[in-house]
């Protein structure tokens, strides 16, 4: 379709659907298509009830149901007084189910603006599915396949159990029977949508910090459903609909629709607007009973089109670089709703229509062609923006899940090192070391990929600190391994490294399940220099103290296990490792804390504000000073150092994310949901470990400082 034709099309449709022509189809106070805004507002991923409510209201309006007393009735004249059950907000499957398509790879690199960042569709799809279900797959489908289903064949996704609801009280309130896997389909929840909305409104009225778990879960579930519904409607205009059922062959001929077409789409008719306008013109002011069947059908179709045009909602699928502002992007329905945008984005919209049609036919080739055409078009239009992205790398990062695979390898290395300590076979040590290093390589590659993709230091959120701290402490552990493996400490560094790697990356992977880990930063953090210096040094401090803690565990276990005659010397070596690592930890914790103070002085004008996070870092510094001085002055020996550094690991955990649980202060951006129990469990276990090993050692253990130890090395 040519440009000039489009202009006349928009004008024709505006004219054709103006109130005088379609008076029996629409409320008298509505304006024509030309001034149609976008109904509802963008539903947020994180529930903002007013916006979400508006979106849902708009969605309810779109079904033609009166949403409240005195509402203008969108179907004018068709409503009776009989109360209806609410029809589904999701399209019902038609008589001929769409074929669907498995090969949706070409969609992967489509650019989308989401949460302030331009990202590939691959990331968006994963983020959405994670947000809904806590997983990046659904049954045999990957996230991109699920996203394609939701967009192109929404009617088939109603039974997908993709909504995770953890809290049984929420289910009870909604009257939904609990499922074993805690996942529910839209159709299961739809019956309780009114109730859910009511609960969400109540929960939203409560201040964010004061909401209880149930309220948070209600808001999360509600937000997810709104986002899902919104996504299912994004391409409504491109999908065949029962509203546009063409029954008469002569209508098909007149509008040049394919002969086999039963249901067509808004877009199909839109591109035939001049023909429709012509028919409407011919009808003129003729009364209803004087119209031909063709004319009646075409008027019906134009009325349906008008209705649809009124319910186009903005969607989170912002894939069109807006011509209106420099870095604003809009979603397809927004473009369809405004003639000027429709004209500007005609080719892109046509490509989406092409993708939808091909997808529903199961035509992989056609799908790839349309997706390619779309990407090429956007690539030209938003050249600067696309050029500064790294979609290839990001897709690889998302699909490759580097931190998951390094976790797997660290587990293997940990088991191998245990086996080495049991059987003392050099090949076990070598293969564990090799596996560990392979995992470490992947781990580092993941961090580097994030730096390149986000163009910022890899420590901007609580999540990101886990892989980073893990990397630093593992590196330090490997240095220790290198230094001590020549002597009697072989394997100690490796064991500590694998242990820390497993723990820290497990936590990181748990966090990753909470959603997108590549978010944009709030203004005060948007400063690369301070971010890099303060956060990196302070997390290096964390790393060293954690490593000292890990070695402390190894020391205590070794001190209690029955050992050979060289054991006291080995223990002394481990003691030196703890001492050195604590010194290192003090150095970096201190400088990191002070750099934080300097950053605060630069940003807020005070060096120290007794903010919980600052205090947490200070606690680490004080504890390290206590340990080093107590050791220096002979108040504690190696065992004291070992136990003290285990306690240091608790201090680090409290400073690192414990203070985030307090939910006050300037650092509360990293608030962690439901982590309190795990933190208390960790503290409890560590305290018990300290107590048990200390008592045991007092009673019967060996090691430097114990009389037994002094006897053993006599031979050496």
């Amino acid at each position: 379709m040519s440009r000039s034709l489009l202009v006349s099309l928009a004008a024709a449709l505006t004219l054709a659907l103006s109130p005088s022509r379609a008076a029996d189809a629409k409320p008298a106070d509505s304006a024509g298509l030309g001034s149609t805004g976008v109904a509802g507002s963008l539903p947020p991923d994180h529930p903002d009830i007013s916006a979400a409510g508006a979106a849902l209201e708009a969605a309810l309006g779109a079904t033609g149901m009166p949403t409240g007393p005195g509402m203008a009735d969108p179907h004018g004249g068709f409503v009776d007084d009989v109360p209806h059950p609410r029809p589904s907000l999701l399209p019902e499957p038609g008589p001929v189910p769409p074929a669907g398509l498995g090969k949706v790879g070409p969609l992967s690199g489509v650019a989308i603006l989401h949460e302030g960042r331009l990202k590939p569709m691959e990331t968006f799809a994963r983020h959405m599915l994670l947000q809904f279900s806590g997983r990046t797959r659904y049954e045999k489908n990957n996230a991109l396949q699920v996203m394609a289903r939701i967009l192109f064949t929404p009617e088939l996704t109603g039974d997908y159990k993709i909504f995770l609801i953890n809290n049984p009280e929420v289910l009870e309130a909604l009257g939904v029977a609990p499922e074993k896997r805690r996942k529910y389909s839209y159709r299961q929840l739809e019956k309780s949508l009114d109730k859910l909305q009511e609960l969400a409104q109540k929960a939203d009225a409560v201040e964010a910090e004061k909401r209880d778990l149930v309220q948070k879960e209600v808001l999360r579930t509600y937000g997810n459903l709104v986002v899902y519904l919104n996504l299912t409607r994004t391409l409504n205009w491109a999908l065949p609909s029962p509203n546009y059922t063409v029954t008469l062959p002569e209508t098909r001929t007149r509008l040049k629709l394919p002969a086999e077409a039963g249901q067509v789409s808004f877009w199909d008719l839109m591109s035939r607007a001049p023909a429709i306008a012509k028919v409407l013109e011919e009808v003129g002011d003729r009364a209803q009973n004087q119209r031909s069947p063709l004319e009646t059908e075409v008027i019906g179709l134009s009325q349906a089109m008008y209705m649809s045009s009124q319910t186009l909602m903005a969607s989170s699928l912002m894939v069109l670089p807006s011509t209106a502002s420099k870095d604003g992007w809009i979603s397809p329905p927004e473009a369809v709703a405004v003639p000027a945008q429709l004209q500007a984005f005609h080719d892109e919209l046509d490509a989406w229509h092409g993708m939808a049609t091909a997808y529903r036919k199961g035509d992989a080739e056609g799908f790839a062609k349309s997706a390619g055409a779309f990407k090429a078009k956007v690539g030209n239009r938003a050249y600067d923006q696309i050029a500064s992205t790294h979609f290839g790398l990001e897709t690889l990062y998302q699909k490759g899940e580097p931190f998951y695979w390094s976790l797997v390898l660290y587990w293997l290395a940990l088991l191998g090192t245990f086996a080495f300590f049991l059987f003392r076979k050099p090949w076990l040590y070598r293969s564990s070391l090799f596996i560990f290093l392979a995992g470490f390589g992947i781990h580092i590659a993941g961090i580097v990929a994030r730096i390149i993709i986000m163009k910022r230091p890899p420590v901007t959120s609580l999540y990101e600190t886990f892989p980073f701290v893990a990397a630093v402490s593992l590196l330090a552990a490997m240095v220790l391994e290198r230094v001590y493996s020549r002597k009697r400490g072989v394997g100690i560094g490796l064991l500590s490294a694998a242990l820390l790697g497993v723990i820290l990356l497990s936590i990181a992977n748990r966090y990753a399940a909470e959603g997108d880990t590549m978010r944009m930063l709030v203004a005060v953090l948007n400063s690369n220099f301070w971010l890099s210096t303060h956060v990196i040094t302070v997390t290096i401090g964390y790393s060293a103290c954690l490593l000292a803690g890990a070695i402390g565990h190894v020391y205590m276990v070794r001190a209690l296990l029955p050992g050979d005659r060289t054991k006291p010397e080995r223990l002394r070596e481990i003691g030196k490792m703890i001492y050195g690592t604590t010194c290192f930890g003090l150095l970096f914790s201190f400088i990191g804390t002070v750099l934080g103070g300097i950053w605060a002085d630069q940003s807020w004008g005070r060096f120290w504000g007794w903010d919980p996070k600052e205090n947490g870092a200070l606690l680490i510094v004080i504890w390290c000073i206590i340990l080093l001085h107590a050791k220096q002055w002979g108040y504690i020996r190696d065992v004291g150092m070992a136990l003290g550094s285990v306690f240091n690991a608790i201090v680090v955990a409290v400073a690192w994310f414990g203070v985030n649980l307090l939910n006050v202060g300037l650092h509360s951006y990293g608030f962690t949901e439901g982590a309190a129990t795990k933190l208390f469990a960790f503290i409890g276990i560590e305290l018990i470990f300290m107590l048990v090993t200390w008592v045991w050692w007092k009673v019967g253990g060996t090691g430097p400082g114990k009389p037994a130890a002094k006897v053993a090395p006599a031979e050496a």
Binding site: L113, H114, E115, G116, R117, M318, D327, G328, W329, V483, Y484, R486, K487, M520, L521, V522, A523, V524, N526, S527, W530, G580, C583, F584, L586, L587, F590, I591, V594, L595, G597, I598, W599, D601, Q602, S603, W604, G605, R606, F607, W608, G609, W610, P612, N615, G616, L618, L619, I622, W623, I626, H629, A630, W633, Y635, V659, L662, N663, V664, G665
Partner: protein, 381 residues
């Protein structure tokens, strides 16, 4: 034959020095500090930063959990500072291998000193300007004053009484106006009502407030709104019962000694020798979201008849004549944009910078001096 001990060595062996420097005192002090920071942080979540600072980081005793007494953090820090001083004066050997330790301990002392100077002398205030507005003074966050002023031509002559002096029963002389104020009640936090008190005299008030009631001071000290009731006596005239409330926008207008005088209970003002005029405030967001990516204020700095444009934005404050202006906050509404700056004067500002760099350097030096021989030994076959 060993040389005679120097005065330093003699002093170091003195029983008093030994007592002061007893390692147990250091360790206990450090442990106390650890506990205070930990419990102070917990306390802060319940009672707000201001109270936590006063209680845990001050000089007095604090009852942790309501029963366990600990000395305040400032006291503990003084003990540690004295130990540091004595250590450096008499004990720490004047030898090259101890250079790192010297630097560390000296600069930690400087750090503590910086903290002390800040605690004593730093003034934090703020300035909120609408676009086009010019500010000649900054305003305290939480300290209040009773201001009495008289307009003479284009300037105001202001007398301000710090609210610290306002206590029930206290008297203030308004000498220039030959009058006297006798405070009947001052509440740090209060609520105001338009209803008149059923008993006692009707109060004079510019905004129609009839009574105030005392409230518990808020967790956030900046949320307090004080209330003041006093009797104003002027010779030859009947006494006036006056009520002033912190949230009032308009001052009370009076005629005293034949002069037109304004009176207001307001957040303390700090006059500046220069002025700042906000020309433009810009908030940038990440595309497609409400999330701010930066805040920027463009202003004119006016002084001695001249002016220059300045830009204040996140992490990039304006420093001028000992004052530092930080982009702190903003408000937007239909037709207006306001920008709020945090304003700080702190003579000890540079000490933490210098001392912490030195601590880092010193620690690095010390650990290196110990690590190198250690690694040599370890690496030896």
């Amino acid at each position: 034959m060993s040389p005679a001990p120097s005065w330093r060595q003699a002093a170091a062996r003195h029983p008093l020095t030994r007592l002061i420097l007893h390692p147990a005192i250091t360790l206990v002090s450090l442990l106390l500090l650890f506990a205070l920071v930990f419990f102070g942080t917990l306390y802060q979540t319940e009672h707000g930063l201001w109270e936590a600072q006063v209680k845990y980081f001050g000089y007095g005793m604090v009852l942790v959990g309501g029963f366990f007494p600990l000395p305040g953090a400032s006291l503990v820090l003084w003990v540690l500072s004295i130990q540091l001083l004595v250590t450096m004066a008499f004990v720490l050997p004047l030898k090259v291998p101890k250079l790192g330790l010297w630097i560390v301990h000296l600069s930690i002392f400087a750090l503590l000193l910086g903290g002390f100077i800040t605690q004593l002398l730093a003034v934090e205030s703020q300035m909120t300007l609408a676009e086009g507005e010019e500010g000649h003074y900054t305003t305290s966050y939480q300290d209040w004053e009773l201001a009495v002023w008289e307009s003479r031509g284009d300037s105001n002559h202001v007398f301000a009484y710090d609210a610290k002096h306002l206590k029930a029963g206290s008297q203030l002389d308004l000498t220039p106006y030959k009058s006297r104020i006798k405070v009947k009640a001052y509440y740090r936090n209060s609520d105001a009502f338009t209803t008149q008190a059923t008993q006692g005299p009707a109060y004079v008030n510019p905004s129609g407030i009839g009574t105030i009631e005392q409230r518990k001071p808020d967790k956030e000290v900046t949320r307090n709104s004080p209330g003041l009731i006093f009797t104003l006596s002027e010779p030859g005239k009947p006494d006036k019962e006056i009520l002033l409330f912190g949230m009032e926008q308009v001052p009370l207008l009076l005629t005293l000694d034949g002069k037109k005088v304004s009176m207001q209970l307001r957040l303390k003002h700090y006059p500046l020798n220069f002025s700042l005029k906000l020309t433009d405030f810009i908030k940038n967001v990440h595309p497609g979201t409400d999330m701010a990516s930066s805040f920027e204020s463009y202003a004119e700095l006016k002084e001695n008849g001249g002016s220059r444009p300045v830009k204040i934005w996140m992490n990039n404050p304006l420093r001028h004549e000992g004052y530092t202006f930080f982009q702190a906050s903003f408000s937007q509404g239909p037709g207006f944009e306001k920008s709020t700056f945090a304003v700080v004067t702190n003579p000890g500002r540079l000490l933490p910078y210098i001392s912490s760099l030195l601590v880092f350097g010193g620690m690095l030096l010390h650990f290196m001096l110990r690590l190198i021989p250690f690694i040599r030994k370890e690496a030896a076959p």
